[in-house]
Amino acid sequence: MPTAAMEVDKGDQEMVAGASGVESKAPVRSKGVSADDDREAFSPDLLRIYYARLFPYEQMYRWLGYSNMPASLPDSSGKPQPVDEQADFFSKREFSFTIEDDVYIRYQCFADQKEFEQQVQRKQPHKIDIGAIFTLPPKNHLAVKPGAFQPVERELVFDIDLTDYDDVRTCCSGAKICNRCWSYMTMAVEVMDVGLRQDFGFKHILWVYSGRRGVHCWVADDAARALTNEGRGAVADYFGVVAGNDNQSKKVNVSLPIHPSLRRAYETLEPLFLEHIITEEGQGLLSDPSHWGKLLATVPEDVRQTLEGRWKMGGSSPADKWEELVEEMEKKGRKQQQLAKKMKPADRPPTPEQWRYEVVFEHTYPRLDVNVSKGRNHLLKSPFAVHPKTGRVCVPIDPAHVREFDPFTVPTLGQLQRQIDKYDKEHGEETKSVSSINKTEMKKYVQQFEDTFLTGLYKGIRVKKRDRTERIAAVTTDF
């Protein structure tokens, strides 16, 4: 696989997006449109203020610097193996900037927080991407012979984007989103977060709003950062259930017995399917004949006819319809049981149980852009960067409260600036000693970044450092 080609590929997302920003036309928005919406959300001037007064350089540096401790794979007891500190660890991290007019600059790197801060303020990037830690500072990559410049480690990342749900979502398409389809992201975060923690044992997981129509996930555990490309692909595939392309009608294939992780996901997703997918307030899968027609196309002919006839009469709720459908499928399944036994396993129709899993998963299971996860040197937009099309900040999402997260309430640069002004007006002179972050909603998000992510991460780093010191002590005192 030509990885170098992959590194430079960044066009697809922007291309599909077109020019439209976030739009909301759903009547079910949890929170109203704030008065700010008509005003400017993004401009070079606003960006300048943001980078000068609000961007959390210190926290970002603390995260990406890992206190100079490289990743090391845990041993059989689950403890990371001892590693040496690397004084220049942060400087080997690739950043890339997209500056005005979509000029893309790769292989940026910074010696420390100060230089990071200076360069961001000097270049005013419209977009900041984060890449891997390399064998040497990326800006020197041309000074060494090919092969000597290699990615060494990188957070395990996931990218989930609403455009990948276009074949099932009925409210919007392309770059547009609303609160109805945002529930796809909520479901994705819930399933992925539990899976990453329980199945893979990861602890340091950061969820971030991508600024427009999706979410990003950064896993910063040692075992995740040290993964090979192949290992990353395997983790992504483990979470891959919806596969297939425009030339395959069936996109989910579940085999029985169902894998424990999928059973757990189903238990989470089925109630959400009933709430967000089939209802009129949601995607309307079972409230609108044109949508249920698509679903009925996946069931045997006689079942389809029975139900189509019955549902035409009206009167039943989407939840009733789902129950009827499941019931009919089970009846049908019992009839077919004898017949199926005579067939080769590959030719057997899906059992009612399988069919049910497949339908729910097709509409709710997370759809990852696996290419982003697979390559160690694939770039991903930085947390706290800004989406130039919406002006919204890529703020962290607390997975424990993901259902309450509303992308439409994420502050834009314009809103943040007005929050500073408002605070200053209300508090007069004494505001000088208050940091700008604390005058705005940024305070909440930076605090959350610390509480849900950084604090735990540093606990782990301290343990690693202590183990290292103890080992050295043991060696030097051992005569």
């Binding site: 696989m1 030509p2 170098a4 080609a5 992959m6 590194e7 430079v8 590929d9 960044k10 066009g11 697809d12 922007e14 291309m15 599909v16 794979l73 845990p74 059989s76 689950g78 979509d102 000029v103 893309y104 090919p146 990948d164 276009d166 074949d167 329980q198 199945d199 893979f200 044992g201 990861f202 075992a223 040290a226 993964l227 090979t228 192949e230 290992g231 692909g233 395997a234 983790v235 595939d237 483990y238 596969a243 297939g244 392309n245 425009d246 030339n247 395959q248 009608s249 069936k250 085999s255 017995p257 169902i258 894998h259 424990p260 992780s261 999928l262 059973r263 696996v370 290419n371």
Partner: protein
């Protein structure tokens, strides 16, 4: 990786079992290169015998032979060329010596280029897997510690507690659950099983039954060999400078690579131009490329993998870098400004031609790569239609490109039995009636999209010219002949450039002909 010393069976372990050697002891992970003298004749012979086996594996895979049929055929080939006897100590050690030496010779011969390394790695891994799969669970549980693979055994109590979960994994050992040893293995060592959800995963550990542990041992093996191949490639020039076995090594790897259409610098005979593409797509492209071309015409964009698959194909067919740039630009700028194209995509085009980044001249994708590679997701048009479309879509696509009912059924039948490449050959046959008589070589059709197009273009050329000429068919090569089914040069035909060596000891100065290959 684990140190060499720890992977070696102890000397004591090698010497026991009078009148029979345990099967698992015959299998090597090749962690240490042999260090002994060997005649040049033997040097060549053992290597060529091993090549026969590796070729057989490639051939079986290309024909999609699986399961028991695969095992039976490979067993036969192994018996003929590379027995691993367990009959008695003496024959076991002779067979093992041959196995080890031949592996290291080929490792050296195939370390030279990326493609050769990949080929060798793929076949050797399959061979190793086959040998492990021949072991019983009991033998396997002995093999593991003997090769320094320290997998933690799950205690019976823990196993019982996890019972229902362990049994809800596809193909779990339901009947033998109580007797099955489970290992607790860090998830990153079980990538294969994790990616396919074929294992229970909890807290970062995969719970792997002994029946499945093969995959993990194979992954380790593969990683080790891959690393040593890279290291060996650094010494290739030095080793092959030896006038006695240098030419032998160079020749050994030459015969088995089909044409890879890797030049693509615009000097290829086909040398196509952008203006020809519409008619070529209509007449001379295999289905996968036809689909990419029409998607590009329709949507004026292709996603990443589509651009690569189609772009490299065009490069392989001789589209020059300037023409390629003009072509992609003309297509993409129908939906975007020139400015955007130049910022976001022009680099990609130059990159494909090795003009940017690490300046690798990428080779066009073969069928195998397309079939096994990244499957297309929503919005993608790359991939192999026979492999990646469902029957309904494929069937209607075939009708769309005007394939008759009989041919269509034949193609769909091949697809059903997962012979995607044969299906593609069938498509060629259906659209090039009379190709047998035309004398056009159809080598590689169904193995490489560029071969498909090349053959088709030749066919049409011949047809246009041959309206007057006689229809003698000089070679009339059978279509779909795969490497190894006759035709390909037999290994014995490899003639070393050096005069036939006398059986004098070759090991002078450079440490013996069985050259040391740096082991990991």
């Amino acid at each position: 990786m684990i140190g060499i010393a720890s992977m070696r069976p102890s000397a004591a372990a090698l010497k026991k079992d009078v009148g029979g050697v345990e099967r698992h002891k015959a299998i090597s992970m090749y962690n240490e290169a042999p260090f002994e003298e060997i005649t040049l004749d033997e040097f060549e012979l053992v290597a060529l015998d091993r090549l026969q086996v590796l070729r057989k594996i490639e051939d079986l895979k290309a024909r999609n032979v699986r399961g028991d049929d695969f095992r039976r055929a490979l067993r036969e080939s192994l018996h003929k060329y590379m027995k691993l006897s367990t009959l008695n100590e003496e024959s076991a050690s002779a067979d093992k010596r041959k196995d080890t030496i031949s592996h290291f010779i080929l490792r050296l011969a195939y370390c030279r280029s990326e493609d050769l390394r990949r080929w060798f790695l793929t076949q050797e891994t399959a061979l190793f897997r086959h040998r492990l799969e021949e072991l019983s669970p009991a033998e396997m549980s002995k093999f593991i510690p003997e090769h320094g693979l320290f997998f933690e055994v799950v205690t019976p109590e823990r196993k019982a507690a996890l019972r229902s979960k362990l049994l809800s994994i596809p193909a779990a050992p339901v009947m033998e659950f109580d007797r099955t040893t489970y290992y607790r293995i860090p998830f990153w060592q079980a990538s294969d099983l994790i990616g396919k959800r074929q294992v229970y995963l909890e807290g970062g550990f995969a719970y792997v039954p002994v029946q499945r542990v093969v995959t993990i041992v194979v992954a380790r093996y593969r990683m080790g060999i891959s690393k040593s191949l890279m290291e060996a490639s650094n010494h290739f020039a030095y080793v092959t400078s030896d006038s006695r076995f240098g030419p032998l090594l160079q020749n050994m790897s030459k015969q088995y690579l089909g044409r890879d259409f890797g030049n693509g610098d615009g000097t290829d005979p086909d040398n196509i131009k952008p203006g020809m593409l519409n008619s070529l797509a209509e007449r001379s492209m295999p289905l996968c490329m036809k689909q990419l071309h029409s998607a590009l015409n329709r949507e004026h964009k292709l996603k990443h993998w589509g651009r690569l698959q189609y772009g490299l194909f065009l490069k392989g067919a001789g589209l020059s870098v300037d023409d390629a740039m003009a072509f992609w630009q003309a297509m993409f700028t129908k939906i975007m400004g020139l400015d955007q194209f130049q910022k976001q995509y022009a680099y990609n085009v130059r990159h494909m031609y090795g003009k940017e980044g690490k300046r690798t001249n990428y080779t066009p994708y073969s069928c195998l790569k397309i079939i096994m590679g990244n499957p297309p997701a929503a919005g993608d048009h790359h991939g192999c239609p026979y492999r990646h479309y469902d029957e309904d879509h494929l069937s209607s696509l075939l009708s769309q490109v005007r394939i008759g009912a009989t041919d269509k059924d034949a193609i769909l039948r091949q697809v059903k039995s997962k012979n995607y490449q044969l299906a593609c050959q069938r498509h060629f046959e259906a659209t090039h009636k009379g190709y047998e008589a035309s004398g056009v070589s159809t080598d590689g059709v169904g193995n490489h999209p560029n071969a498909w197009m090349h053959a088709s273009m030749e066919f049409h050329k011949e047809k246009a010219a041959g309206a007057s000429g006689a229809q003698s068919s000089p070679a009339g090569k059978a279509i779909g002949r795969r490497p190894g089914e006759g035709g390909a040069p037999s290994p014995a035909a490899v003639v070393p450039a050096t005069p036939s060596p006398s059986p004098s000891p070759a090991g002078t100065g450079k440490g013996g002909a069985a050259t040391r290959v740096p082991a990991s």
